[in-house]
């Protein structure tokens, strides 16, 4: 049977790959739950006002460390933190820097990885040697270590007023050591694709290099890259929190889940477990949702491993 099916043009094949993946994912209950969790988290990052009417910066010293005995009712549904700030508001407002950081790192890393990978794979030669060597070098230093290095060497005071300044330093450090995986996948996919008949045909028809790279090769290269994006976002959120615990991530008084966790550890031993448990639970839930989604996506895009 298979011998007689006509060759399908790439664009159609791509389209059916994505729609097949979408259809497979839509049927899985774990994916649906993960998606709902992620939507909730994104909503918290985009519209914190929907979830809390308190201002996290309005704190009363005499209300410090109120335990959340009232359970989701009363003035402070999740209690207050060490300085008397409403903890629910703090948690909700800490979402935005966390998510913004993760998304900006992933976008920057993917773009860098795609561009370098395609150029290295397509042109080969000295450009490929340079990029491959850079890949080898950066891979030696894992993301957390690299971020530690950069942030501890270039530590400085930043304003906490604007979101951009809050997340800029950790975002740059994480991007610097986060693009390699994408570059490697893109390069491999480019090497594979560039000798396929339809690419050679396009070349013979006089298509420019850039057109071939971005019109014909990119759609293929983007598949393995997309498959690892959600999992990597989860990894970035985790790394951010690790940096915060080390005291070199997002700098207080700005908040992120990592900062809250880091503060929470000081109080968890003293009986204020909720200050640690809430950000911990939220972080794990989010990362787990990203990982589940990513795992399903990887399977859907690479059916032979199912």
């Amino acid at each position: 049977m298979s011998e007689l099916t006509a060759p399908v043009p790439t664009t159609e094949r791509q389209a059916s790959l994505w729609s097949d993946a979408f259809r497979t994912m839509r049927r899985r209950p774990d994916v649906i739950i993960a998606t709902l969790v992620l939507l909730l988290v994104f909503a918290m990052a985009a519209f914190p006002r929907l979830f809390t009417d308190k201002d996290p910066t309005q704190c009363l010293g005499r209300e410090a460390r109120l335990r959340p005995d009232t359970w989701f009712t009363g003035d402070h549904p999740l209690g207050t933190d060490a300085f008397g700030c409403d903890f629910a508001a703090t948690l909700v407002h800490g979402t935005r820097p966390t998510i913004a950081l993760a998304l900006s790192v992933i976008v920057a890393s993917v773009v860098i990885g795609l561009v370098l990978g395609i150029y290295a794979g397509y042109y080969g030669g000295w450009l490929d040697s340079v990029i491959s060597r850079a890949l080898d070098v950066f891979v030696v230093i894992p993301m957390l270590m690299g971020a530690i290095l950069i942030l501890s060497l270039f530590r400085g005071r930043v304003s906490t007023e604007s979101l951009v300044e809050t997340i800029a330093a950790p975002a740059i450090a994480l991007t610097l050591f986060g693009w390699m995986e994408f570059c490697r996948y893109t390069r491999a996919a480019t090497l594979e694709t560039k000798n396929l008949d339809y690419v050679i045909a396009a070349k013979c028809l006089g298509a420019s290099d850039r057109r071939i790279m971005f019109k014909h090769i990119l759609p293929n290269a983007i598949v393995p890259v997309t498959a690892v994006v959600p999992t990597t976002i989860g990894g970035i959120i985790v790394t951010e929190s690790a940096l915060a615990v080390l005291g070199i991530g997002v700098q207080p008084p700005a908040t992120s889940w990592g900062v809250l966790l880091s503060d929470g550890t000081e109080w968890a031993g003293g009986g204020y477990v909720y200050l640690f448990a809430w950000p911990l639970g939220l972080l794990i839930l989010t990362v787990f949702a990203f990982a589940t989604f990513g795992d399903a996506l990887r399977d859907a895009l690479d059916p032979k491993l199912r």
């Binding site: 070098v137 030696v140 230093i141 957390l144 501890s152 060497l153 690790a242 794990i284 990982a291």
Partner: protein
Amino acid sequence: MGRYVIRRILQALLTLGIVLFLLHYLMALSVQIRGNPALLFFGGDRTPDPAMLEQVERLYNLDNSCYERVGDPCITPFVERLQDYVQGDLGTTLNGNRDVAQLLSIYIPNTLRLFVFSVITLVAVSMVLGTWAARHRGRFIDHTVRGTTILADSIPVFLILLSYVYIVAVPLTRWARGIWGTESFMGQVFRPNYNPDYPWTTIIIPGIIVGTVGLATMTRLIRASQLENLGSDFVRTARAKGLKPMRITIVHVIRNSMIPIVTGIGFLFAFMLSGAVLTEGVMGIPGMGRMIFQAVQRQEGNLVIVGLTVSAFVVVFVSLIVDLLYAALDPRIRYE
């Protein structure tokens, strides 16, 4: 084979050289932008006597004028640094003025012991789970294994650690001591912190915790390779030859599955190193990880660089070993 080994070793040395230079350049840049870390020696804000500052600068090899020009790669100090490294001189700590090389000789074995347990945990658990999932592909067990490993991978190591230290360790230790006594193995193994009197016992739990880094990745790798090999044509041939299932598994499946496992360990080693930073920091294990942890907190650039140099060295070395093992395992590599 010989040529492949030599080429691979040269490549590793080149990578290592570039990494070292990169680290040096970043440090130089940091000094050029942020000012002299030697000032820390005098405790922050006070302005020290220029003569003394000069002396301290010389002590930390920061007396070269290139450190005042932003962007200068500082080649001369780099060469000097390499020469010092070769002679075993890794400098001294700003804090307490201790010999770094000497510290390393204490720290590295501790971290290695931690890794013994981590690697054993990782390989054993993922082998069992991956094989199990592959046998029950597509069924409940497969999904459960996958979900559990992803969850284990989603929880950051240091959070498992913090939860363990702050919530589980103390009651567990108390319970164990009530039954077996303080000095017994069980009385020590659950301690929330490292005890140098029991260098092996008290490192087991942190080792296991670091071993959960990459559990999902590794399990997935093993599951996939087992599925691939079990359904492969050469396993069908082996069955057609009338071999027993046990022999097929041992001779024709396991060796073929070893390749991704070896690659996976090489790949995850770097991540386990970063897991060790927080683990050792939190559990108080005097190893490389804690050194980096403290160096960051005390802002000792040189110590961070040395720590990362060692880590880079280990990663390059491990991936070299992995590649050579790969060549030993797969005859197709040798002749390329």
